[in-house]
Symmetry: C2
Subunit: 205 residues, 2 copies
Amino acid sequence: MSEIESSTPQARGPADHSVREQIVEAAGEHFSHYGYEKTTVSDLAKSIGFSKAYIYKFFDSKQAIGEAICARTLSAIIAAVEEAMAGAPTPTEKFRRMFKTLVSTGVSLFFNDRKLYDIAAYSAGEGWPSARAYCERIRQILTEVVREGRESGEFERKTPLDETVHAIDLVMQPYVNPLLLQYNLDVADEAPVQLSNLVLRSLAP
Amino acid sequence: MSEIESSTPQARGPADHSVREQIVEAAGEHFSHYGYEKTTVSDLAKSIGFSKAYIYKFFDSKQAIGEAICARTLSAIIAAVEEAMAGAPTPTEKFRRMFKTLVSTGVSLFFNDRKLYDIAAYSAGEGWPSARAYCERIRQILTEVVREGRESGEFERKTPLDETVHAIDLVMQPYVNPLLLQYNLDVADEAPVQLSNLVLRSLAP
DNA sequence: CGAGTGACTATTATCCGTATTAGTCACTAA
DNA sequence: TTAGTGACTAATACGGATAATAGTCACTCG
């Protein structure tokens, strides 16, 4: 369910080829260490003991490798969010944890793995499929929470579901989208709480 | 009241000197035409018939001139907002118009006077006094609207005023701050409506 | 046939010397 | 004293030659 890769069929060779995994593995290391720009496709090839040309049997382009790494990084954030939400008793609490974890994980990525963060930000700016899928997944999770809250009578039901979800999505976007989050780091610690409060007030029946 | 310049005392010569106005006038033209980077201080000097050195009798630096132009640009946005709000019958409507005008004026600046927009965005990114004052002014206006709405019984009164205002400010920021707005142009037409609705729901008594 | 590659090209990045430019200051003329 | 400037410097931008890189393809080897 949280497999973002499934929506990005930019592979060339057989999907479950061991070499493909080796490439992704090496790319993860190199991109994280030296950044996307500074690592060459030859570097990746050398580090797994093949020629550069062979890489292109598995990936269309260097960007495609970048997308794979990006998808992986964003999947980790989604996983953290799902884990945080797991034990929440109410939709209200689920929403709070969702927002909070989304932001704190993003911020932590920024400070602890800046090179990977930059790829994610670039990806969001360019509208790569990996970033689109990430946003879409967040929207799904949000929709689920709101629907649940409506069913339990915790949230109001007058406003059309789509509209509610979309508006909340707009509120979260600046802290969820890596491209935008980096400009909001100064309020990233308080924003989830303050905005969760506001959103939840707007959801009151 | 909407004089942003008053808070930025980076002037050197007498404040109401005609040459100072000529400089600002010329800078407005040149920056708008060729951009901040591409216009040299000598260009400004030449266009008003003085030497470059004389400019520095009135401004500390080229950046100070940029700030003056930025302040001027942002003042125009504030003025547009105040005008739009003037005829609004209720605080609810005032808020809607405020948000809507803030965004539409910003977007229009982006598309019709890109060079000036870029200065404003840069200014916001660097935290120049002109940009700070702009944000502060918006917050003031917002505070006034919320207070008025509370007094008239249109808005809820349980949440602390500061908290309410701050949260709404966070919601508007991505569309008000020129640095951020440029990344949100794709939703700039619907966001004010959708977010106004959400905010107003959260303000319901 | 399939796994894997060396050698090639067109495009993009990187230097590095040169030219501009922001900013200062001692100075003049009225 | 006030209004205004030419000449100077240190830092920065520019441009063009050069090097590095993404991506391809015909090819070999088992």
